[in-house]
C-alpha cells in the first residue's frame, strides 16, 4: 500500500508538471491572461508536490530503518549495538528530522517569495496589458476543459486516498490538482465569456487569481511566523508548513459544508444534517447545479433588443435568411454557440471630434479664450494663406517661404448608422474609418481656403461643406452611415499666436477710438467757431447800432453846448469841468496832498494790499505829507 501511495504521489508530481507546462504554452498561444495565471498556480503545485514527495520518501526510509532495527534487536537481544549513539543508528530518521527542521522552512520561505513575487509581477503585467483578442479560443476551451477533467479525476482520487489512508503528505499535491481543475474551468468560462462579447472578463479573472495568489502568500507568511512560536511536543507530528489551508478549502469545499453542518448540529441541539431538507440538498446539489447551467444555456435563446438598437443574427456564423436584422423587442434564437447576435446602436446619435482631444476638467470652464488652451490636446492644421502667397511673389524662387498658416479647429461630428449590414460587414472598424475620413476631409478643405476667409466670411458655409463632403465620401465607401451634423464650434489661430490676433482687434478699436475723438473735436470746434464769428458780427452790429445814434446825439448836444458856451464861455467850461470831476472821480480813490511843502518826496505804494493798510492809517497819511 505504501509503495502504491508513493506511486500516486509521483503521478501527481508529473501530472502537475505536465499541466503547468502545457497550460502555460496553451495560454500563451491563445493569449489568455487567466490561463497564464492558472499555469503559475499549477507550477507552484508541482513544487509543493515535489517537496512532499521527497518528504514521503524520507519517511518511507525511516519506516524501513525502524523495521530493520526492530528485526535486528529481536535477533541479537541486548548487545553492543545499543551501546552506540542513537544518531548513528537512525540515519534515515536523522535525515528526515534535518529535512523537516531546515529544508521545509527554507522551502516555505522560497514558496512565500514565489507566491508574493508572482502575485506582484502578475498584477503589474496585467495592468500593462489590455484585453487582447484571443487566438484559437475554441481549442483553448477544449484543452483547458480536458485538463480540468484530468486534474479533477486524479485530484479526487488522490484526495480520497489521502483521507482514507491518513496520508497527510499526499494531501498538498491532491489539493493543488483539484484547485488546478477548478481554475481550468474558470479559464474555460472566461474564454467563453470573451467569445460571448465580454472581452474584459479574461483580464478580470486573471486579476482575481492574482488576489488569490497574494492571499495564499499571506497565509504562507502567517504560517511561517506561527511556526516560530509553536510549542514543540516530542512525538507530536508536525503539520506540513507548506500546506495551504486556503487551497485545501478551495479544492475541497465539501469539507467546509461538513464543518458547517457540524456547527449547525451543535448550535441547534439536534442533527440538522439528518433532516430531510439537508439530505435532499446533499443529494440534489449536483442536479441543481446542472439545472442552473441548463437555465443559463436556455437564457441564451432569448434576445431582448433595446430601443434604438438593431442586431445581426448569425447561425453558425452565417446570417439567418429572413431574420438577418433584429429590431427592438423580444426574439427567440438557438442557444449559444449555434446562434449569435451582434448588437448595434443604430438609432442612437454617435459622435466624435476632429482636431482636438477633449479635456473633461477644462470643459467645466465657463469662458473659452483663444489664448488659453481649452482641450487636452489641440492639433495645428495647415491652412492656405493669401498674405504669405502675396509675399512670395516678391521673393526669389529659392528663398520662398511656405505659404501657409496654422489653425486650430474643434469640429464635432454626429452620425447615425443607416445601414447596419454595411456598417458591420464591410469594415472591421467602421467608426474608426469614419473618423479618418472626417479628418481627411477637414484637412483637404483647409489646405484650399484662406485663413482669414475661413475665420470670417467662409465660416458659415464651411460646416455644411464639410458635412456634405464627409457624407459623400462615406457613401462612396458604402459605410452605411448618415452624417447628421458637423459643427465648427471652435476655429481660431494656435494659442501661441492668438494674442497677436487679439491685438489686431484691439488696434481696430483703437483706430475707431482715435477717429471718434477727432470727430468729437471737430464737432466741438466748428460750431463754437461759428458761434464766436456770429458773436463778433453781432458785436460789430451792436457797435454800429450804438455808434451812429450816439454820433447823432453828440452832434445835437454839441450844437446846444456850442450855444451855451458862446453865451458864457468861462462858466460853461468850469461847469463842465466840475460836473465831469463829480461824475467821473466820485468812484475813484483820491489822495490829496494838502501840504505846502511840496519839495518833499512821498513814496506811496498803490498796491491793493498796501492800499488797505494805507486806509487803516489814513489819518496819519496827511500828517507826514502835511509836514
Amino acid at each position: 500500500m505504501e509503495r502504491n501511495i508513493r506511486k500516486i504521489g509521483l503521478v501527481n508530481l508529473w501530472v502537475l508538471l505536465a499541466g503547468a507546462t502545457t497550460s502555460f504554452v496553451l495560454a500563451r498561444l491563445s493569449a489568455s491572461f487567466a490561463g497564464q495565471t492558472v499555469s503559475v498556480f499549477i507550477g507552484l503545485g508541482f513544487l509543493i508536490a515535489a517537496v512532499s514527495y521527497f518528504q514521503m520518501r524520507l519517511e518511507e526510509r525511516e519506516r524501513l530503518e525502524r523495521l530493520e532495527f526492530d528485526e535486528l534487536a529481536k535477533s541479537r537481544g541486548g548487545s553492543a549495538l545499543f551501546a552506540t549513539e542513537e544518531a548513528e543508528l537512525f540515519a534515515a530518521r536523522r535525515s528526515r528530522e534535518q529535512f523537516e527542521r531546515f529544508m521545509v522552512p527554507a522551502f516555505t520561505v522560497i514558496l512565500f517569495l514565489l507566491q508574493a513575487g508572482g502575485a506582484f509581477l502578475l498584477w503589474r503585467w496585467l495592468e500593462k496589458s489590455s484585453s487582447a483578442k484571443l487566438a484559437e479560443p475554441l481549442v483553448a476551451m477544449a484543452l483547458f476543459g480536458l485538463f480540468a477533467l484530468v486534474l479533477f479525476l486524479l485530484g479526487k482520487y488522490s484526495a480520497g486516498i489521502a483521507r482514507l489512508e491518513g496520508q497527510r503528505l499526499l494531501r498538498p499535491g491532491a489539493s493543488y490538482l483539484l484547485l488546478g481543475a477548478y481554475l481550468c474551468f474558470v479559464v474555460v468560462a472566461s474564454v467563453a465569456a470573451v467569445e460571448a462579447g465580454f472581452s474584459r472578463v479574461d483580464v478580470f479573472a486573471a486579476r482575481a487569481l492574482c488576489v488569490l495568489l497574494a492571499l495564499n502568500a499571506l497565509e504562507t507568511m502567517v504560517s511561517l511566523v506561527l511556526e516560530i512560536y509553536r510549542p514543540r511536543v516530542k512525538g507530536q507530528q508536525a503539520r506540513l508548513l507548506y500546506e495551504s489551508r486556503l487551497v485545501g478549502l478551495l479544492s475541497q469545499p465539501e469539507g467546509l459544508i461538513t464543518t458547517a453542518a457540524q456547527a449547525l448540529d451543535y448550535q441547534f441541539g439536534f442533527k440538522v444534517s439528518e433532516t430531510w431538507f439537508y439530505r435532499f440538498l446533499e443529494k440534489a446539489l449536483a442536479w441543481l447545479v446542472l439545472l442552473q447551467l441548463g437555465a443559463l444555456l436556455l437564457s441564451t435563446c432569448f434576445v431582448f433588443m433595446e430601443p434604438g438598437q438593431e442586431g445581426l443574427l448569425e447561425r453558425f456564423g452565417r446570417p439567418v435568411e429572413g431574420r438577418q436584422i433584429l429590431q427592438p423587442g423580444a426574439h427567440l434564437k438557438f442557444p449559444w454557440p449555434i446562434d449569435r447576435v451582434v448588437r448595434y446602436s443604430t438609432q442612437q446619435i454617435q459622435s466624435f471630434n476632429v482636431g482636438f482631444i477633449p479635456d473633461p476638467e477644462r470643459e467645466k470652464e465657463s469662458t473659452v479664450l483663444w489664448t488659453v488652451p481649452h482641450y487636452k490636446e489641440e492639433f495645428n492644421l495647415l491652412v492656405a494663406s493669401r498674405d504669405s502667397e502675396a509675399a512670395l511673389a516678391t521673393s526669389a524662387p529659392g528663398e520662398q517661404a511656405v505659404p501657409v498658416s496654422l489653425l486650430t479647429v474643434g469640429i464635432p461630428v454626429h452620425y447615425q448608422i443607416s445601414d447596419v449590414k454595411a456598417w458591420a460587414y464591410s469594415y472591421s472598424d467602421a467608426g474608426q474609418l469614419l473618423e479618418k475620413i472626417a479628418t481627411r476631409e477637414v484637412v483637404r478643405y483647409l489646405v484650399g481656403v484662406d485663413l482669414n476667409e475661413i475665420m470670417s466670411t467662409a465660416r458659415q458655409q464651411t460646416a455644411e461643406v464639410l458635412r456634405q463632403r464627409i457624407q459623400d465620401r462615406a457613401n462612396e465607401l458604402d459605410l452605411g452611415v448618415k452624417i447628421l451634423f458637423v459643427g465648427l464650434q471652435d476655429i481660431h489661430p494656435p494659442v501661441k499666436v492668438a494674442p497677436y490676433y487679439e491685438a489686431v482687434v484691439a488696434a481696430i478699436q483703437e483706430k475707431e477710438a482715435r477717429i471718434l475723438e477727432a470727430q468729437a473735436y471737430s464737432s466741438n470746434q466748428v460750431p463754437v467757431a461759428a458761434a464766436k464769428a456770429k458773436r463778433k458780427v453781432l458785436e460789430a452790429e451792436a457797435y454800429r447800432a450804438r455808434k451812429v445814434p450816439l454820433a447823432e446825439a453828440q452832434k445835437a448836444r454839441f450844437t446846444n453846448q456850442m450855444a451855451a458856451y458862446e453865451a458864457s464861455p468861462t462858466i460853461f467850461s468850469a461847469r463842465s469841468y466840475y460836473q465831469t470831476m463829480a461824475r467821473g472821480a466820485s468812484g475813484a480813490r483820491k489822495y490829496i496832498l494838502a501840504a505846502t511843502n511840496t519839495q518833499d518826496v512821498l513814496n506811496v505804494n498803490l498796491e491793493d494790499k498796501i492800499a488797505k493798510s494805507l486806509m487803516d492809517s489814513a489819518a496819519g497819511l496827511s500828517t507826514p505829507g502835511a509836514k
Partner: protein, 301 residues
C-alpha cells in the same frame, strides 16, 4: 439516478462538449479561414458556416477578418516636395485579405500586425516618392486650380496597389492623406510670420486711426479758423460802416474845434475815471483848491 451515474453523465457531457470544440469550428460572415494539416494549407473557407476538422495538432484553423481593415501610419514623416520644401505627411489606408492562403504563408501565422508593418513600409516608400514629384502648392494653396491632393492620393494608391498585387494576398482599396504638417522649426517660423502679419495689421490700423484723426482735426481747425476769420471780417466791415455813418455827424465839431476838443477831453476824463483809479491831487487842483481858500463865497459884484 445514482450519484456515480450522475457524475458519469456530467463527465460524458463535458467530454462531448470539449470534444466538439476540438472537432468543429465556425467561420463567421466577416471571416475567412485557412485549414492547415500538419502545417500545410489544405483548404480555404471563404463562406460562413459550421465546418469540421481534425483536432489540433493534426489540423489547425487560421481565421482572418475578411472585411476592410483600417491602417494608419505610426509615424508622421517628414519629406521633401519637388520645390524643396519640407512637409510632414501621414496617410491612412483601407486594406483587406483577398487570398487568405497567400496571406498565411507571407506573414507568420497570418499575423495582421506583421502584415501592417509590411504595408507601412510599402506605403511610406510610395508616399515619399510621390510627394517628391509634386510642388508644395499641390498640397496647400488658396488657389483651387493648384491643389492636387486627391490626384496625389490616387497616385500613391496606384503605386501601392501595383506593388502589393499578387505578393501579399492583400488588396489596398483606398488611401487618403490624413494629416499634413511642418517640422517644428518651420512651424515656429510660421508662428513668427503669422505674428509679424498681425503686427503689420496692428500698425496699419493704428496708422489709419492716427491719419484719419489728424485729417479730421485739421479739417475742423480749418473750418473753425475760416468761420472765425469770416466773423472778424464781417464784424470789421460792420464797424467800419458804423464809423462811416457816425462820421457824418462829427462835421459839426468843426464849427468850434477848441470847444469840441475840450468836451471830448472831459468825456475821456470821465470815462477814464470810471474804472478803478487812484487820484493823487494837490490842493491846487480845482475844486480841491477850495481846501486852502477861506470858506466864504466870493463877494457879490
Amino acid at each position: 439516478m445514482k450519484k456515480s451515474n450522475l457524475s458519469l453523465l456530467v463527465g460524458f457531457l463535458l467530454v462531448i462538449i470539449f470534444g466538439l470544440l476540438l472537432f468543429a469550428y465556425q467561420v463567421r460572415q466577416t471571416q475567412v479561414a485557412v485549414v492547415t494539416t500538419f502545417g500545410k494549407p489544405t483548404s480555404d473557407r471563404t463562406e460562413p458556416g459550421l465546418y469540421w476538422k481534425m483536432p489540433w495538432p493534426i489540423q489547425k484553423v487560421y481565421q482572418f477578418d475578411k472585411r476592410i481593415q483600417n491602417f494608419e501610419e505610426d509615424k508622421f514623416e517628414e519629406t521633401f516636395t519637388s520645390d524643396k520644401k519640407n512637409l510632414l505627411v501621414r496617410v491612412y489606408a483601407g486594406w483587406r485579405i483577398i487570398e487568405p492562403r497567400v496571406f498565411l504563408q507571407r506573414f507568420a501565422n497570418g499575423s495582421v500586425q506583421e502584415a501592417e508593418r509590411t504595408l507601412e513600409g510599402l506605403i511610406r516608400t510610395e508616399k515619399n516618392a510621390t510627394v517628391g514629384k509634386h510642388p508644395f502648392s499641390h498640397f496647400i494653396s488658396p488657389n483651387e486650380n493648384d491643389l492636387k491632393l486627391v490626384e496625389i492620393e490616387q497616385e500613391i494608391l496606384k503605386s501601392v496597389q501595383e506593388r502589393a498585387k499578387g505578393n501579399y494576398g492583400v488588396e489596398v482599396r483606398f488611401l487618403g492623406i490624413k494629416k499634413l504638417g511642418l517640422p517644428e522649426s518651420i512651424t515656429q517660423k510660421v508662428f513668427d510670420r503669422m505674428k509679424a502679419e498681425r503686427d503689420r495689421l496692428v500698425q496699419e490700423y493704428k496708422g489709419q486711426g492716427e491719419s484719419q484723426s489728424i485729417i479730421i482735426r485739421a479739417t475742423a481747425d480749418r473750418e473753425r479758423d475760416s468761420i472765425l476769420a469770416q466773423g472778424d471780417a464781417d464784424a470789421m466791415r460792420i464797424r467800419g460802416q458804423g464809423d462811416a455813418e457816425a462820421a457824418k455827424f462829427y462835421s459839426v465839431f468843426e464849427k468850434a474845434p477848441e470847444l469840441a476838443l475840450y468836451i471830448l477831453g472831459l468825456n475821456a476824463l470821465e470815462q477814464t475815471l470810471k474804472e478803478r483809479s487812484t487820484l493823487i491831487l494837490d490842493q491846487r487842483t480845482p475844486p480841491f483848491n477850495l481846501l486852502t481858500a477861506k470858506p466864504e463865497a466870493p463877494a457879490k459884484k
